[in-house]
Every structure is written in structure tokens, then in C-alpha cells.
Symmetry: C2
Subunit: 330 residues, 2 copies
Amino acid sequence: MCYNLKMKTLDSIKQRVDLAVSQLHFANQPESLYSPIEYILSLGGKRIRPVLSLIVCDLYSDDIEPVINPALGIEVFHNFTLLHDDLMDAADKRRNKPTVHKVWNANTAILSGDAMLIVAYQLISKTPNEHLKEVLSLFTTTALEICGGQQYDMLFENRLDVTEDEYLEMIRLKTAVLLACSLKTGAIVGGASDKDASLLYDFGINLGLAFQLQDDLLDVYGDPEIFGKNVGGDILCNKKTYLLINALKNANTAQRERLVDWVNKEHFSPEEKIAYFTKMYLELGIKELAENKIKYYYAEAVKCLSQLSVCPSQTQLLKTVCEDLMNRDF
Amino acid sequence: MCYNLKMKTLDSIKQRVDLAVSQLHFANQPESLYSPIEYILSLGGKRIRPVLSLIVCDLYSDDIEPVINPALGIEVFHNFTLLHDDLMDAADKRRNKPTVHKVWNANTAILSGDAMLIVAYQLISKTPNEHLKEVLSLFTTTALEICGGQQYDMLFENRLDVTEDEYLEMIRLKTAVLLACSLKTGAIVGGASDKDASLLYDFGINLGLAFQLQDDLLDVYGDPEIFGKNVGGDILCNKKTYLLINALKNANTAQRERLVDWVNKEHFSPEEKIAYFTKMYLELGIKELAENKIKYYYAEAVKCLSQLSVCPSQTQLLKTVCEDLMNRDF
């Protein structure tokens, strides 16, 4: 079925999202409560989550205006998690600019973040009445899952025995569910069937897992010019990525001992550590393992799309966004 | 008009609130995300906010069950503000027990607090459909006001020129609006008229201001046995209370200089500092000034009650709670 014959272009959807973000209005006082919110939102980002909500709503309805507010709520929530995560991770930079707790201070980061979470709910609450309960409930479940994901991520810092399943569950919670929530919110507000809404949710989960695993891979093998991050950042801070977890699992006793030695070293040459792990990943076939896992989730994502009850031609935009995301071109 | 002829007793309402709090169910995993929420809720407290919601709902409806979830949401939100405020204020104790960031750590306090704010919204979202938008909107406005109040409170720490009006606005935001929100939520869900809902809101604002001003007064003149806090805590940390603000305003040049000297002293005998301020408050008639202000707001609160469209006899319970609160007997 082709529900909506006049589909919007990706550019027009991106423009609609940018306009909506630029029109977000916050109270003026107290200035030091709201300025950090405007600051973090001004740092940009791809706005991928609201864009996905709008694209999906456009699949099922010729009016995307009703999804603007919940889509913005998801974007504000996402930026709230960045604000509080940066504080918890003591990160100095976000998108090459100083983080909120660096520009202001920790207390301002806590309180402005709290206000931001409330603003996110304020926007979600503007969902049209007939879909409000369902959208609210999905958003709340998702938000709690994301807190859980961040907690697991922090707990994993002090563990060397994180399993692949635990890791996949952590990135599902920390990254994938919000993409899935954005897509499903667009489906609910657009009036999709429960089956389509659920397929779009699963599409988001698989896309999110593929995306995060690729992020792990690009940390080691990415072109810093395109990727925008220094190579080996995860290696230097012993982040329990898909790569490290599988290296530790597949290593023989001697290899494992040397890997653990490197993890525990307090003084080392960064280049040497990165080179060592890169070589070990090669020896253990970790790159291929990760690539296969990414391909698997990506294929699962595409499979979800193919089962939607819309014209196959209409899912082209979602596929394009998917590809752009994976190629870091979005 | 007597809307509800079978009014509940205060004891039965308190019991209903305690039961509902004890039945709050949180996810089990990750344990370190949810345990701090259970911990802070287990520290007790008067549960005054949900009790007020239930009392008011009972005024207008013979079924108070529909207000239980939003009332719990307000209580969870209140405890969330305590959790994050304690972290921001670096407070070691809450109700004579170590604060969450002391038992766990700062990151856990941030993240569990965030989860708690989301749980508060989850409970608010369970408001019956016909009142959901109104209750959500009131709650969100109130929650943002409370963040503003906390921000002003922190900003005032570094200022000696806080005016009485600024102070009253700060305590309105930080304390009064949540009491007002609790009362109005009970009115909305109970089906009160807009006029009564608004009068109950104003009743809460006036009661909250009277209560907070009395808190300032009890810091100096209260019996620690009854009040549960050490005398002079606000004086020792130079808190810009109603008393200090008016002492600085009404002092002559010499008195003001000595007061400012005491404020700026880094090394001093606590007893001597408390004795000095207490003497100065007496000389400047500050106690009487505060008492008159409290009486004024209390009378305004009672005036709001007298204008409600319910049987005067039915407001007796609210008056009793008011008196108990002011006498710290609640």
C-alpha cells in the first residue's frame, strides 16, 4: 500500500527539523539554568533521531506537523544524556567544544540537565491526545533503558570479564533503543499499524547495534579525517568494546596475559599501545568478526523494512539514511 | 456544597499513601541504578505532598484511587530533588542517614536521580486520560520552577545583596509551588471547578511561604528536640534567610559592617557567631518581623480555603494539616 503519495525529500525533512530546533524557546530566567541548554543544542549534531521520526510519520500520513514536538522531545532528551554523560565521564570536549561542566561547573551541568529532561517531557506531552499515552509510555520505557545502559557502561569500566552478550545488551540500551523509539514514535503519530510500528522499532534496534559496532571498528580502522575522532581512543582508555571483548575471549593464554598486561599498564607510549592492540586484533581475526556482525545486524535491519506494509519504493529514503549513517555521510 | 459526604480520616489517607509508597516497584537491573532510589524513599519523610493530593481529591470525589499515581509521582519527584540537591550542596546527611552520593558516589547519584525523575513522569502519566494533559502540564511547569528555585538558591550563596522580594520568589519556586501543585492535582483529578483548583493552588503557595519562613525562624529559635535540627545551622553557613536579609537591610552602618565582618570570617567560634546573630536579630526586631510575615501568609492561606465552594466543615481536615505542619506535628 502507498499511504502517502507525496513523500517529502530528505532535505526538506532535515530543514523542517533544523527550523523546529532553532525555534525552541526557553525561559529567560534564571539565565544560568537555561544558557547551558541552548549551548549544548547549539553544538549541532546530525539530528538523526527527529529526522527518523519525521521520515516515518511521512510514510503513513500527509501531515508530519503532529510529530514535530515529540521528535524534538527525543532530540532534547538525547542532548540531555550527552550533557550528564559528559559530566559522569569527566569528558572535556563535545563536538570539539568544551563540555557544559567545563564552561560552567558540575552543579550547573546537573541542574541544567535536569531541566532539559523536564523540557523533553514537555515536548513529548504535546503529542496529539489520541497518541499521547502510547508515545509517553514508549518514551519513558526507553529513557529508563538508556539510564540502565549508561550504568552498565560505567560498571564495565572496572571489569575485564564482560561477555559479548552483556556488551550487546549494553549498547542496545545505551544507543539502539532511542533510534528505535524515534522510528516507532513516527509510526504511532503517523497512524501506522501496530505491526509496522513494531517492525520499525526492530529496524531501529538492528540499525543501532550495527552503527555502534561500526563505531567500535572505526576507532581502530577509521580515517580520522572522515570519522572525526583520533584513532585508538577506545584502546587507550581500555574501553570494553566488541573488539577488546572478543580479543580477550579468543586469545590463547599467552596472548591474553600480554593483553591484560597492556590493559593494566599505567605508563606507556600511546602509539605503542595502539599498535599492539591493532596487531593483536589482526592476528585474532577480530576485524573480520566485527565486520560480519555489523553485516548481520544491517541485513536484519533491512529485512524489517522489507516486511512493512508500505510500497517498497517508499522505504527507499529510510534505506538511504541507513547507508549514509553507516558511511558516516549523514 | 458538600460534594462528598463520606470524607476519609487523616489516618486512613496517610495509610493509603504509605501503602502506595511501599508498593512502588522498580526494575531489578541494574541493581546499582535502582537501589539508591529505594534507599532515599526508605528514609521516610512526612509524605505531605501526596497526602494533600488525596485530601483534596477526597473533597470532590468519593473515589481517591485515580489520584494515587500522580500523587506518588509528586512524592518521587520531591525525593529526586532531595537526591540531586544533596549532591549539589555536598550534604553528608539526609534524615540522619548518609546521603546517596556518600553511600554510593556522585555518578550514581546523578544517574539514579535522572532515573527517578523519569519514574516520577511514569507515575504522573498514569493519571486518568481525561485529566492527563492538564496534570502533566501543571507538573512540568512546577518541575521547571523548582529547578529555577534551586538555581537561585545556589546563586544567592555568593551574594550579600539579595532583596526580600528575590528571596520570597526563590522560596516560592523552591518550596511553595510543589505543595500548590499537589493540592491542585488533587483538585483536577477529583473534578473540582477551575476556580476551586486555582484557590487550592494559591492556598498551597501561601502555606509554602509561611512554612519556609517559619523554617528560617526555627533555625534560630526552635527547640532542637522538636525541630530535629541543630540551632543556628543557617547562621553558620551564612544562608541568605529572611532573617539575615532583613537584618542586613535594617541595620545601621556600624551594625551592617559588623554583620558583614561575621559573614566573611573564616575562623570563628560557632557558639559566638550564633550568639552574635541572635542578639542582632533581637536588637533589630527581626523575630517579630518574620512572625508577622508568617501570620500574613498563613491568614492568606486560610482565606483561600474559606472561598472554596465546599462545605466549610469539609475544609477542616486541610486546616488541621496546615496547623500540624506549622507546629511541626505532622
